[in-house]
Symmetry: C2
Subunit: 310 residues, 2 copies
């Protein structure tokens, strides 16, 4: 988000999606072992590793700009390099912002209210000293962050700042997610039948006081594409939430799996693909950026067509 | 943890607790506004703020050494300063290690398996370049980290590394925690009656393959002291988990509230107090370190006496 823009986060994201007719997001989950051969060196030195990851991520950002409206950075891939990784992560957020991309930081933060305030300050306050000297107004703050709402509403609220938003984990796409999230709860007046649906009710209530002009909230929801059977009900329980839908591509979800995440106008969700796009090349592919761009374009076209925006 | 020590994390923590006869942990949640007047300056400059926080935290570490066996760093208080804060956080972990303290990093991380691996690598791999040059074998890796288990077992397993451990959030001490965690679930063969109890069953199962010589697991559980009515049942469901019990002191829990977290021998839990100890002084208190030490000693004595270790 450009510093000058104080537009509601949901309005801004939905506008960006419509401009490109593609509710598609490319996930940056860089790992050293899968970088193209052209980007060396393979090393155990942290500084050299991070330089290679930076080169790769900037190449991916160039490749996907104009193909998708949004990127999602996986914080864990950067935090594994501790402070140096965190510094790089924010530089890449600024680089994505300069390219006009909306940015989601996939950090899955969650704590009690006072600690959530600290996390939100770290992400959304201006940190002038970390911005590139002399650069024009690139913003190293993410537009959105993913959060974990196991601690309830007081851990959510601090992230809902003017111009920014959060996606709360509701239904995740991983194998272990079912054990808790699919557990049936005792019926109550909210209409929730599972743990994930109970979280959905909490998220819908928290988000209702943060609506943009287009009727969607700056509190969205993570709803994995690998759980299509659950998505329709979650859509009903969370009519004002933008769904961030991971699990497409490498995790096995197909185009028809994602349909229930959208409303009848093909709105209200954004589908994320990571490895199937950013690692679309063979290791020795000298034109790996072109290959990533083609994969991003194909992904955007597939999603845009599926939801009939194209 | 000293690099040379590969003792099981649970054995090491229980030994440390018994050596001091105090299952007590002091939480470092430093905030600029509450530092003693003697530590200046009050400033909006990030570097100066962090220098003040470092001075304060080192003073607290000196003050609590010999009073309690363990400290807990709140990651959010450091991450609000981004990379510089992360660097300081690991320096303070090393400083705590040098003083012989067990260290819990309260980071509440949680993600799918592959991302959890990255987080675990960032915390528990050796990062030689970040260790103080010339320092003797201080270790800047935490002994334990808190994690969020909403994503299930595959997000837990990566944190259970040799010599390290994790405390999974089960029942939190904040006001909003009830909305989800107290929700009643449909009865099943596991005996869990609420969402928190369902998480407890998942945690107990995941932890059972990581037991130390003393019968406790390197997968522990966070169980807030403000929920004594729940603690007894959670103790039954998680007989092999060490409970990390926040909420004592500033959050209102009393000595009798914590009793159900321990087994009949006064073992299996460690109680954490943060603000009531580290901010025990008045702003102008020139001897604030002594005041913190007295508060830590009183806290340790109160807990040690309550569970009849003293």
């Amino acid at each position: 988000m450009h510093v000058s823009s104080q537009q509601h986060a949901a309005d801004r994201l939905l506008d960006a999606i419509e401009r490109m007719a593609a509710p598609a997001c490319v996930g940056l989950d860089p790992v050293l072992e899968r970088l193209p051969d052209a980007i060396g060196p393979r090393t155990t030195d942290a500084a050299a590793s991070l330089a290679a990851i930076e080169t790769f991520c900037l190449g991916v950002l160039d490749a996907v700009t104009g193909a998708v409206p949004c990127v999602k950075l996986q914080a864990a891939c950067f935090e594994r390099y501790r402070h140096r990784g965190v510094e790089l992560m924010h530089r890449l957020i600024a680089a994505a912002d300069q390219r006009g991309l909306e940015v989601i930081l996939d950090a899955k933060r969650g704590d009690v209210g006072i600690s959530a305030e600290h996390y939100a300050a770290g992400l959304f306050d201006e940190h002038v000293s970390t911005r590139a000297a002399g650069a024009e107004a690139a913003d190293d703050r993410p537009d959105w962050v993913t959060i974990n709402s196991y601690l309830g509403a007081d851990g959510i609220e601090p992230f809902l700042r003017r111009g920014h938003g959060a996606f709360a984990l509701v239904r995740t796409s991983n194998p272990g997610g079912d054990a808790l999230q699919s557990t049936c709860i005792v019926g109550n007046e909210t209409g929730a039948a599972t743990v994930a649906e109970r979280v959905a009710v909490i998220v819908a209530a928290s988000g209702d006081t943060h609506l943009g002009h287009r009727g969607f909230s700056s509190l969205g929801a993570v709803v994995g594409a690998t759980k299509p059977q659950d998505a329709a009900r979650l859509r009903e329980l969370m009519p004002r939430q933008i769904f961030l839908v991971p699990g497409y591509g490498a995790q096995g979800a197909t185009a028809s799996d994602i349909m229930p995440c959208f409303d009848q106008h093909g709105r209200g969700a954004i589908v994320s693909a990571s490895r199937s796009v950013i690692f679309a090349f063979k290791p020795g592919d000298g034109a790996w950026r072109d290959t990533v761009r083609e994969a991003a374009l194909a992904f955007a076209d597939e999603i845009g067509t599926t939801v009939r925006l194209r």
